[in-house]
């Protein structure tokens, strides 16, 4: 089944590579991965969807935690969450088709963001199946170009913790773990 993870990572060079490399190395199949900023400049947030069974899903979480730069992993697959994908779809729209395409965009509450003599570009935000639905009805008119961001997700209400703190200067280094020169 498709699992959705929200992964908070330190905003440092190379962290995306570490996460992507982990999935390749352990042969987990990434369906989608997005990364962006959070409310804290030192923390980045990834939304990762992976096809995995229950045990694999647990191991993915454990392996993510093994990466030193990973701060927090939430598997929100079975949590109430807002999940959004964004697509831009360039549709062939000559004069007779144009009104039909505009009508369909309106039904899906999508926005027209570019108008050209031969095409319309529609921007739509929503759950993945909603975007799939719009794509399907637009296809007969001729989809010239399409791009999707992959999903971003956030748990509803208080369940979401937000980006964890990183300025933990009193990091818990056990005294016996530190050697001192004499």
């Amino acid at each position: 089944m498709l699992n959705t993870y929200v992964v908070y990572v330190e905003n440092k060079p190379g962290v995306l590579t570490r996460v992507a490399s982990l999935f390749r190395r352990r042969a987990f199949n990434i369906d989608s991965l997005t990364v962006g900023r959070t409310e804290k400049p030192e923390v980045s947030r990834m939304t990762i969807t992976v096809d995995a069974d229950y045990d694999q899903a647990r191991r993915i979480e454990a392996n993510l935690y093994k990466l030193v730069n990973v701060l927090l992993v939430e598997n929100i697959t079975n949590q109430p969450a807002i999940v959004r994908d964004l697509a831009m779809i360039k549709v062939a729209a000559t004069h007779e088709a144009r009104s039909h395409v505009l009508e369909l965009a309106g039904v899906f509450r999508a926005r027209v963001v570019d108008v050209a003599p031969e095409s319309l570009t529609i921007e739509i935000t929503g759950a993945e199946d909603k975007i799939d639905g719009l794509l399907e009805v637009l296809r007969p008119y001729g989809v010239l170009e399409m791009v999707r961001t992959g999903i971003v997700a956030m748990r509803r209400g208080k369940a979401s913790t937000g980006a964890p703190a990183t300025n933990n200067t009193d990091h818990n280094v056990a005294e016996e773990d530190v050697s001192h020169s004499v």
Partner: protein
């Protein structure tokens, strides 16, 4: 110019230092006495600053050797081993040693020089993206581009390497970061690792579930792994086994974690484990996995592995839980701490029925001794190793083995009573490991008697380090088990490829002459009667000694579980020349 001003500044305030000087200062503060390294362009500022340090630098002959030495140092002592190399080829030569340390959870820190930060990405001379290369084979790695980052990075590297499940950490430092100066403040450079959690512990409920399984089990077995030694839980495991009456089977890297002579010690499990050990595991109703990871070499076919047994997995790395074998109760935490929780709560149970049935599985194989078999005129590796054990068993001896047949024979015929008395490459199976790792072991424990047991194939992969032994005047004894073949590969060809010995016969040099060329006292042994005298002569000699044991060419390690076969389906020795198990 910058360097000159920094030197002046250093003498005046003693706080402003170059990145290179900070590097050595931090290593000293981390307790490092010795590093293993090889200089080159991008690490030269660090080597220049070495003169102001108390650290002893051992010049290796190949950077792979430096990493194995650091690894051997770590495994012999439990302390972090350090290897140093330059950028590009120096760094890439470390890759095998880093991967070896990764798979066997060995704490090493590798310091590499990198081209100047402005040149990164330009394909400059000797530039390699070594943090990219080593990403999947390090526990963590760093690229340092400013002197001000050196101190914190080194502190974090050591902390990450030795805490939790240990592993290799690589620190790549650009040349300009080594050369430029900054204020050095050790206290302010504390590790900042907000996402790093090495200190997990199980839930109370999980302890209860584990105790219930332990108390209800009729046929339990402890699977003792490397984690016991890393955690330092030898005494706790022994107390646990004795109090519960549960027998102990060892992984290859678990050898030494539980005394060989202990009545509850069954011996090694797995592909070349003793037959009764594997049968015991297959018949068990409870497996207690202590710091081991159910490697394919110990489980055989997972579908048929201990199918009637419940499993308790005590393991520090949560990513190991349910990876290969589905377990009933995971106890994620440091083994020693987990056993401290369990010990007061376990009950003493009479398990004589189970232990008697295991004794029956053993038959008389366990008391049969190959030394008592008549001398057939052939020299077998098992003889050499058993004699070596008899001669060195009473001392503080560390045996460092390479990979292949000799490694398995050593595991079968050398009885290890103490932790850290066997050092070997288990997970990666790195040929060429033994000689450099033994150097590291000897440096870590100069009072110990160190023996390299190595095949003629693996020896030739890193034999250049003989020069390091001589240059450092290290008393390391080398036993080459020379059968003129890549023996283990030949064995697989014998069993699975219709004796097509493709690319396995070796044309070898005269190893004794080779040793003499390095200035190492060397001898060749071809008969069984010469084994003990040669070992004695080696022990009495003041310097390093090399013994070239020319053993039977087509001998085979028995028993053997073929890759992918069930654990109880063992290939047994057809003749009775050397008994390894209940071979009748």
């Amino acid at each position: 110019m910058k360097d000159n001003t920094s030197l002046t500044a250093k003498s005046m305030t003693a706080k402003s230092m170059t990145g290179a000087s900070i590097l050595w200062e931090c290593l000293e503060r981390e307790g490092v006495k010795t590093v293993f390294g090889y200089p080159g362009g991008a690490i030269l500022p660090a080597y220049d600053a070495l003169k102001g340090s108390k650290i002893h630098h051992i010049l290796v002959r190949h950077e792979q050797g430096a990493t194995h030495m650091a690894d051997g140092y770590a495994r012999a002592s439990g302390q972090v081993g350090v290897a140093v190399a330059t950028s590009g080829p120096g760094a890439t030569n470390m890759v095998t040693g880093i991967a070896t340390a990764m798979l066997d959870s060995s704490p090493i820190v590798c310091i590499t020089g990198q081209v100047g930060s402005k040149l990164i990405g330009s394909d400059a001379f000797q530039e390699t993206d070594i943090t990219g290369v080593t990403l999947p084979i390090t526990k963590h790695n760093y690229l340092v581009t400013h002197a001000s980052e050196v101190a914190r990075t080194i502190r974090e590297a050591f902390y990450v390497a030795r805490s939790g499940r240990p592993g290799p950490v690589l620190v790549d430092i650009t040349k300009d970061a080594q050369q430029s100066t900054c204020e050095f403040d050790w206290e302010a450079a504390k590790p900042q690792l907000p996402g790093y959690r090495p200190d997990l512990s199980p839930e109370p409920k999980e302890y209860e579930q584990a105790l219930e399984l332990i108390h209800n089990a009729k046929r339990p077995v402890i699977l003792a792994g490397h984690g016991i030694i890393i955690s330092g839980a030898m005494a706790e495991v022994r107390e646990f086994a004795e109090r519960t009456g549960i027998p102990v089977a060892l992984t290859l890297l678990g050898i030494g974690a539980f005394p060989a002579a202990h009545p509850l010690n069954l011996g090694m499990m797995g592909m070349h484990g003793e037959a009764w050990v594997n049968h015991t595991i297959q018949e068990a109703d409870l497996l207690l996995a202590f710091g081991m990871r159910f490697d394919d070499r110990v489980t055989g076919n997972l579908k048929t592995y201990a199918s009637n047994a419940k499993k308790i997995h005590i393991e520090i790395d949560p990513a190991e839980i349910n990876k290969n074998v589905k377990v009933d109760v995971p106890l994620v935490g440091d083994l020693r701490e987990v056993l401290h929780e369990l010990l007061p709560k376990v009950e003493s149970i009479d398990r004589s029925e189970w232990l008697d049935s295991i004794d029956k599985l053993k038959g008389d194989a366990a008391v049969r001794d190959i030394q008592n078999l008549p001398d057939s005129g052939h020299l077998y590796a098992a003889h050499v190793i058993n004699d070596l054990w008899r001669e060195t068993r009473d001392g503080d001896t560390v045996v460092v083995t390479d990979v292949g047949q000799h490694q398995m024979w050593e595991a079968q015929y050398y009885k290890h009573e103490k932790a850290r008395s066997l050092i070997t490459s288990g997970g990666l199976g790195t040929m060429g490991f033994a000689l450099p790792a033994a150097i590291g072991a000897k440096v870590a424990r100069p009072e110990a008697e160190v023996w390299v047991v190595v095949g003629d194939g693996g020896f030739q992969m890193t034999l250049c380090e003989l020069a390091t032994i001589v240059q450092e005047n290290l008393k390391v004894n080398i036993a080459i088990i020379n059968n003129g073949f890549l023996g283990m590969v030949r064995q697989w060809q014998e069993f699975f490829y219709e004796r097509n010995y493709a690319a396995t016969p070796l044309l070898n040099p005269d190893f004794a002459k080779l040793g003499e060329a390095y200035g190492i006292r060397s001898m060749t042994v071809t008969e069984r009667s010469q084994v003990v005298p040669s070992v004695r002569a080696a022990r009495q000699h003041d310097g390093p000694v090399l013994i070239n044991f020319r053993v039977e060419q087509e001998d085979t390690v028995y028993p053997m579980v073929a890759a992918g076969a069930s654990l109880h389906e063992m290939i047994r020795r057809p003749s009775k020349i050397v008994e390894t198990a209940e071979d009748e």
